[in-house]
């Protein structure tokens, strides 16, 4: 099977540049199964899907065909009934020896049957065949939760109220509890028990509040997304906005960019695929900040930005590093790079060192620079990048022989390399059209 096109009875699903499913507003990933088939059990005219990644979200079951980066999404709203996973017991053990691993006749694979109702009014039975090693029970539990939660019905403006009555309920229960004597050892034990129980109840209340908080957070992010879109349309239509206005708009945009991710990939939802999926999500996320930073960003900056956008479910530095190193194995337009000084950066694959060198060279030959040289902050300002990165570029250019360093009490500066222009046999004369001559006339003024 070369793509997910065969299952045309299912709505298609969009996929990002890195091959992750595009989620709609409010849609959150819940679990992942690395390799499944989808088999229609009753209707032979429905095409099957083979060898897909299955992403369970709050709204859909997304079948992602990784190599062709195509996908189909089965809305959870169409699931009438989900049967618990079971293994088909084969009467002929020999058959399983001869069948291929993706064949559904193998008795080893779990099948999750779903009764679905496709529009206009067609009832079908399909089976998800889990052909990989996975915790199918956990997946099924999440599936049921998601179906029950009916997240697709919740309108964005509604404020969900959860957990309000529970605290009320706790107090009467305590009143009803038989009061035991509070003297002696039994009294002490009894008090311990009571405080432990009330702490447990408090915790439960807190978690209810946390659920309420999480849904509020989701609302905030949706609001932020709305504002961001509004900003984008505004800035493209306005042709004569002044600099100040653009500046504050830019700040706004930065703020909103930092709360861009609604559905973080977590160890919980992705299990064994954690690093792989994280790596792809990171590649998607980092594209826009990279573009704005001119194609290169320090890894520490990416770490901060990415975690800020995730909100909760923060990732550790090790996770980030591992996610970046996985990029070598997939076809994404970004890469991790380590400079001689040890500084690690993320850069777009199309980033060209040569281009940066050309810009640095021309900067170093301006009259000011010929006289006083350039510092890392001068370069940062002109190139529009962070000072730490600017210094890396300057050192790189020095290594290539384009620049020379000047170390003095004034600090660390770089000059265009004139050593190559000086004729050691003829130190008092120079080519009247050369760089050395220019420096003598302009730089020594």
């Amino acid at each position: 099977m070369s793509s997910a096109a065969a299952a045309d009875w299912l709505p298609s699903a969009s996929v990002t540049a890195s091959g992750r499913p595009v989620l709609s507003a409010g849609e959150v990933e819940r679990n992942l199964l690395p390799l499944v088939d989808l088999e229609p059990e009753e209707n032979p005219r429905l095409g099957a899907l083979r060898g897909c990644l299955l992403a369970l979200t709050s709204h859909r079951l997304i079948f992602l065909h990784e190599s062709s980066r195509s996908a189909r999404g089965l809305p959870l709203a169409t699931v009438v009934h989900a049967y618990p996973p079971h293994r088909r017991h084969s009467h002929n053990p020999l058959r399983s020896l001869f069948s291929s691993s993706s064949s559904s006749s193998s008795s080893q694979h779990h099948r999750i049957r779903l009764q679905i109702s496709l529009p206009p009014a067609r009832s079908e039975v399909v089976a998800i065949v889990v052909t990989c090693k996975a915790d199918v029970d956990v997946f099924f539990g999440r599936l049921l939760e998601a179906i029950r939660a009916r997240a697709w019905e919740v309108s964005p403006a509604a404020a969900p109220s959860t957990g309000a009555p529970v605290t009320e309920g706790a107090a009467p229960a305590e009143d009803i509890a038989i009061r035991m004597p509070v003297v002696g050892v039994s009294g002490i034990l009894r008090m311990e028990q009571e405080s432990w129980e009330s702490a447990g109840q408090n915790l439960q209340d807190a978690f209810q509040d946390l659920n309420a908080l999480m849904s509020k957070a989701k609302e905030m992010m949706q609001l932020a997304e709305k504002m961001r879109l509004k900003l984008l349309t505004n800035s493209s239509t306005e042709s004569n906005s002044n600099d100040e206005e653009m500046g504050s708009k830019q700040d706004m945009q930065d703020l909103l960019l930092s709360v861009g991710i609604v559905s973080p990939v977590t160890k919980e939802t992705a299990g064994a695929l954690y690093h792989q999926q994280l790596s792809l999500q990171l590649a998607d996320f980092v594209r826009i900040p990279l573009e704005r930073a001119g194609g290169m960003m320090a890894l520490v900056d990416v770490y901060c930005l990415f975690n800020r956008a995730r909100g909760t479910e923060l990732i550790s530095p090790e996770d980030l590093l591992q996610a970046c190193s996985l990029w070598e194995k997939v076809d994404v337009p970004v890469m991790l790079r380590k400079f001689d000084s040890g500084v690690k950066v993320i850069q777009t694959k199309t980033h060209s060192d040569e281009e940066v060198f050309a810009r640095i060279s021309s900067l170093a030959q301006k009259p000011d620079a010929l006289q006083k040289g350039i510092s890392p902050s001068d370069a940062a300002f002109t190139l529009g990048i962070a000072p730490a990165l600017a210094k890396e570029h300057l050192l790189n250019a020095e290594n290539k022989g384009l620049l020379c360093r000047d170390v003095s009490p004034d600090g660390f500066r770089f000059f265009v390399n004139l050593f190559n222009e000086i004729d050691s046999q003829n130190i008092y004369t120079q080519n009247p059209h050369g760089l050395y001559h220019t420096w003598i006339t302009v730089g020594m003024a």
Binding site: E398, R405, D406, S408, F415, S424, I427
Partner: protein, 177 residues
Amino acid sequence: MQRLGDFRLPPFFNYPPYFTLQPVRETREKQVQLWKDLILEYCRSQKIHTISLEEDFPLFSNPKIERSLSHEAKEVFLAALVSEGRAEWMDKGHKRCLILWLRIQDWANLIINFVKDNGLEVMTIEEIRSGIDTRGTELEGIERSVLMRALRQLEQKGKAAIFKGTSADDEGVKFSV
């Protein structure tokens, strides 16, 4: 044109990186070459025979651009001269350096040609160093140890004979050209 005394300084003497030891190999090689030549030229023109690292040497700093060589840089450049045979450390601590802006061999040739051109046969050491005959020539003010080494080389070739006079100051040379 900038001068140090009556010595004409080249334009790159005002290039700040010239005074910072360059880390990149190719650039460093070029820098070392320029410093070696400059040191020899300067010493030759000013007839300076030794450089002490513990004293200020005018060539090693440029007040106009407020830059001077670090101790490490001075050592590197002088050591390069030593490797080439154009200088010698006078002490184990590498604090004083003898600059041979002419090699001993070259000095020997210079002396022999000088005595030939002037028809001289016998001279005292002092006469060679500060006498009327050598005034205005490169031999004027030659470092004593350098002169002695050149003469001994000539001696080995049978072109001169050193003899002692009545006192230590009266050492003399007889040339046989």
